[in-house]
């Protein structure tokens, strides 16, 4: 059942459209991430949900109630900011209890809730510290506790891990997810980090230039991107350009070599230009299985990335990267060496729109 409904949301600033026809239904307890590059409209959408921006048109409904024009302090929506936004003049406990104090809750209730929240974020002894005495990760945990203390109907997180270093980012990411699962709180998470979105979310909304490109589970978004933007933005991707040879069978010519797509190419005609996408991990060195694709090229580059070795192979106009797991016994190809690569038909994604990359 829909808990948070975003209906045909639009936001125009003077000469630009920041958000265009965004439509989304979020279930109670669901974790949804808005993923996209800077300026794609994800933060603006989040700010409209929080009430910090008012939409040019469209509506926001929370548990069936229209909150589109309700001021932010009367929405019961918790927000966690990228810059933590802890009140510098207050201790950790005062920060966490701020919302409850504003709501005029009894002192005993505030004390109890603050204790509970500090235990939840695993900082039970830091209540008397000031924000400047905490590390970035600790500050963001306190910000999370402060947002949760008011028991909001929806938790909004605006790139909460962007200011933290890589190791803390991963551990706090897992913590956010486990707290969200424990409390069962409906959560909207904004990020430009695909790894974060893929690992945290029940569903991902991929946005570009104010529009929703695709909504789906992380599995769907990664494995079955619907547009070239989604395909190129989420994960590393090889995009090959070619011409349609047999639309019914899904046959494409890439630099004169035959490639069979996973399905037929609807609406395409023989000779039409088209783009296909391939993840580096689906391409392997050597001959294919009987019904698989096989292409021949020249090794252009070999990059050692630790656990993975990335090999770049050029055909003619197109090039492809493939990933292979590192192995001390692996004999790596040399630059300029001729090489045959293969990949299964199911791994070839024919993209809806011609790629601009």
């Amino acid at each position: 059942m829909t808990f948070l409904e975003i209906e045909n949301l639009q936001k125009r600033f003077a000469h630009t459209t920041a958000v265009e026809h965004v439509q989304l239904e979020v279930s109670r307890g669901e974790f949804v991430s808005f993923l996209g590059p800077s300026g794609c409209g994800k933060t603006t959408t989040l700010r409209i949900i929080a009430g910090f921006e008012s939409p040019s048109s469209g509506a926001i409904r929370l548990d069936g109630v229209d909150i589109t024009h309700r001021p932010p302090n009367r929405r019961n929506v918790g927000m966690v900011f990228q810059s933590y936004a802890l009140f510098p003049n207050m201790t950790v406990a005062e920060n966490v209890g701020f919302g409850l104090k504003v709501a005029k809750k009894p002192a005993a209730v505030i004390r109890h809730t603050v204790e509970e929240m500090l235990n939840l974020i695993k900082l039970p002894t830091l209540g008397s510290r000031y924000p400047y005495q905490l590390s970035g990760g600790q500050q963001q945990r306190v910000a999370l506790a402060r947002a949760l203390a008011i028991q909001p109907q929806v938790l909004l997180l605006d790139e909460p891990l962007s200011a933290l270093d890589a190791k803390i980012r991963v551990s706090l990411r897992n913590e956010i997810r486990s707290i969200q699962r424990e409390l069962g709180i409906t959560t909207i998470y904004v990020t430009h980090d695909q790894e974060e979105a893929l690992s945290l979310s029940d569903r991902i909304v991929v946005m570009s230039e104010g529009r929703v490109e695709q909504i789906g589970t992380p599995f769907e978004i990664y494995n079955f991107p619907r547009t070239s933007f989604v395909a190129s933005f989420v994960g590393t991707l090889n995009i090959l350009r070619g011409q349609v040879a047999d639309p019914a069978r899904g046959k494409i010519l890439v630099d004169g070599q035959e490639v069979m797509a996973s399905r037929g190419l609807e609406h395409a005609r023989v000779g039409d230009g088209c783009s296909i996408a391939l993840r580096p991990e689906v391409v392997s060195i050597g001959e294919a299985a009987e019904d698989g694709n096989r292409m021949q090229g020249t090794v252009e580059d070999v990059n050692f990335l630790g656990s993975i070795v990335r090999i770049r192979i050029r055909f003619k106009d197109n090039a492809i990267s493939l990933d292979t797991f590192n192995n001390p016994r692996l004999s790596l190809p040399q630059r300029g060496q001729a090489l045959t690569v293969s990949f299964p038909r199911e791994a070839v994604l024919a993209l809806e729109a011609p790629s601009s990359t």
Binding site: A50, N73, M79, F81, Y84, A85, F87
Partner: protein, 263 residues
Amino acid sequence: MNRGRLGSWIIILLGVMYFFVPLLSTFEFSLRYLRGVYSFEAYRIVLADPRFGATVTYSALLAFATILVGIFLVVPTAYWVQLRLPGLRPVVEFITLLPLVIPAIVLVFGYLRIYNSSSILPLTGAERTTDLLLIFSYVTLALPYMYRAVDNGLRAIDVRTLTEAAQSLGAGWPTILLGVILPNVRVAVLSGAFLTFAIVIGEFTMASLLNRPAFGPYLQNIGANRAYEPAALAIISFAITWACMGLIQVFGRGAQGPAAGAH
């Protein structure tokens, strides 16, 4: 010591001499009340004068009132300009700088024309309302310092994010302003307040032309009629101003670490 550092020290020494030689001379002169010996007689006479206590108390009270009105006017204005109307910043800055360009005597003549006893708003008609007019005129005089201090304080914190964080936690505007913003610009407000205090304590033109018993006109009156007491008063006046500056330093040092919102 290399040549560059020597040059710096010479410049610092010249600066110190420029400020301190007249001050030390005034202080030395103020001690010569009794012929042939140094004494604090001039200070004793000044401090024993009931008009000294009365005028200092009057000016101090007006300074506190000026600070309160100034904070009430400047903090919400600077906050709102920063939060919602950044485009208006140059206009507001220009307005706040006007008192530095328009001489106090021009301002006070303007007040006397607008608020005289035969005008629609006859503020100069009674002592209390004249005091009120004097407070407002002091607010105007102190505006460049108060606004700049508060504005600098607001720029040092992430006003927008802190406001939004408080809003998302259910706070309304009064709570945000008094509970979140004001405590975080406390040092800046105090700086503005002490500068205001220093200005008001020594102000002469407004108080004299509005005929109020402030410390400035008393200082001038003594200066015109006595020899050593004005020097003692000047030193006392300096001491009061420096005490204000010292308090700014003390409160500034006591401030907590960097604003979280500014990370």
